[in-house]
């Protein structure tokens, strides 16, 4: 049984065909990175315009690569939220139209549940299905959430960020230092060249739910560190490099980044990773988890992957392959499979829900 997935909640317009919830027949992602890089962030007006431009060719290519006709589909799944309403509407409305015209059932998928299913899909495919209960850490530019995932895909929210998302902290730190957007890949690329013990960041003890995250204090600490030094000239050099060359290589960045700044980046990255893994491990312990899932754009971070592997946790830790970590539609199609089995279809009147929660 094949499902067409459609995703347009934020940066990417994506479509994919997935068979039986485990075989990705095609996964096409049209990234708006170039458009957004110029502006240092996601721009809603540009985003919805780019989605409109991309949606038809992206869906067509996903079907072609999968050798699938619309009539072969068991369902069409689309992201219904959370995200930017203008962006969500493009994918959702297109999916609704296809569903209506072809009489193929529509399935509405929560974007965050999609991220969890990116891992579920690959684990199934590899013959090592996730064991439940599982602890899921969904970590990206907009989300930093911990969920308990029980068999049958029932979710319980255990913790989340009280201020900035982890990916947002990466983006803001990169931006204030003159690096490119998105900030995560650049910092991850340069961190191994710096001394992670160079700058000591302390985390304030939090009252209330100890499984909640906080990254705004860390962002402010980086800002204070920068303000205490005269870094204007080196920041200006990096901004100039970026104007000349939109995608500098690691060597080009290294040429305009002194050791002290590399130490700051390495220390910052280590602090973010420690905050993520410490709370994820505590959450996993609290639910006696039999596996841990890490997903979302920040799951691409090689430092995070290495730290999770070397932590010797008493259960397996699953990361998606990089192509399924960032936003994609294969995860949306995969998340729709259990819903197809339960006959959980969406009416054509269903509206995009910008602040949809999972649990």
């Amino acid at each position: 049984m094949r499902i067409l997935g459609v995703e347009s909640s934020c940066d990417e317009t994506a479509a994919a065909v997935v068979e039986d919830g485990e075989t990705v027949l095609s996964s096409v992602v049209a990234s708006q990175m170039d458009t957004h890089g110029k502006y240092g962030g996601v721009v809603p007006e540009l985003a919805s315009r780019e989605h409109l431009r991309a949606i038809v060719p992206v869906v067509r290519e996903a079907l072609e690569r999968a050798g699938t006709r619309l009539d072969d589909l068991a369902a069409i799944a689309a992201t219904v939220g959370p995200g930017l309403v203008g962006s969500l509407l493009v994918g959702l409305t297109y999916a609704k139209s296809l569903s209506f015209v072809r009489g193929v059932p529509l399935i509405a998928v929560n974007h965050i549940e999609g991220h969890i299913h990116a891992v579920v899909l690959e684990a199934k495919r590899a013959g090592t299905p996730i064991e439940f209960p599982a602890l899921a850490l969904v970590v990206s530019g907009g989300h930093t959430h911990l969920f308990e995932v029980r068999a049958g895909f029932a979710y319980r929210l255990l913790g989340k960020t009280r201020d900035d998302a982890a990916g947002e902290a990466f983006d803001k730190v990169a931006k204030l230092l003159g690096f490119a957007y998105p900030g995560g890949p650049v910092i991850d690329q340069l961190a191994p060249s710096g001394d992670p013990g160079a700058v000591r960041f302390t985390f304030a003890r939090m009252k209330g739910n100890t499984l909640d995250f906080s990254f705004s204090g860390l962002k402010t600490a980086v800002l204070r560190w920068v303000e205490a030094r005269s870094m204007e000239a080196e920041i200006a050099r990096r901004r100039a490099l970026l104007r000349e060359c939109p995608h500098p290589t690691a060597a080009q960045w290294l040429a305009v980044t002194p050791a002290a700044t590399l130490g700051l980046l390495a220390s910052f990255q280590r602090a973010v990773i420690a905050e993520l893994l410490t709370r994820a491990a505590a959450a996993a312990e609290s639910i006696a988890a039999r596996s841990m899932i890490v997903s979302g754009g920040v799951a691409c971070n090689s430092g995070l992957r290495a730290a999770a592997q070397s932590a010797a946790l008493p259960y397996p830790v699953y990361f998606p392959s990089p192509g399924l970590s960032t936003d994609n539609a294969a995860m949306i199609a995969a998340a729709a499979f259990p819903k197809l089995a339960r006959g959980e279809f969406a009416p054509l009147e269903i509206a995009a829900a910008a602040s949809l929660t999972l649990a």
Binding site: E45, K219, R224
Partner: protein, 138 residues
């Protein structure tokens, strides 16, 4: 104009809770201050003071741009990522301004021509590592 001092994030949140009672139920509030000044902390207090959501539920809208609380009684908007006025076109800010809601906006001062003339401004200034000065212009 009233000026307040806070010495910690927790104090900034409780100041927001007290300020919430002095703000109109409907209108626009610009929260201004540099990166890390504590705009989101003050927003947490205001949202919680209005009984729209607990302070812990209020997170940064930088990536997501608009957060809604209390079934549409309070909106928390962040324009940090936007560079040009035309990029706000489909964000639907005017629509929010027309609603029966309090709209808190971070980085709104960067687009003065798009902000309503009738508005409250709350400026946050970093004084020390943890100390902040908060000035309200009704």
């Amino acid at each position: 104009m009233p000026t307040y001092r806070t010495a910690s994030e927790a104090e900034t949140i409780s100041l927001g809770e007290r300020l919430a009672r002095t703000l109109p139920a409907r209108g626009v509030v610009l929260l201004t201050g540099s990166l890390g000044a504590g705009k989101t902390m003050l927003a947490k207090g205001i949202v919680s003071g209005l009984g729209a959501a607990p302070a812990d539920e209020v997170s940064s809208p930088t990536f997501t741009l608009i957060h809604e609380y209390g079934g549409g009684r309070v909106y928390h908007v962040d324009l940090y990522r936007l560079e040009e006025a035309r990029e706000l076109a489909t964000l639907g800010l005017e629509e929010l301004f027309d609603r029966d809601a309090l709209v808190l906006i971070e980085w709104g001062e960067r687009f003065p021509q798009l902000m309503p003339a009738e508005r409250t401004e709350i400026r946050i200034r970093t004084v020390g590592d943890d100390e902040r000065e908060v000035e309200v212009t009704p």
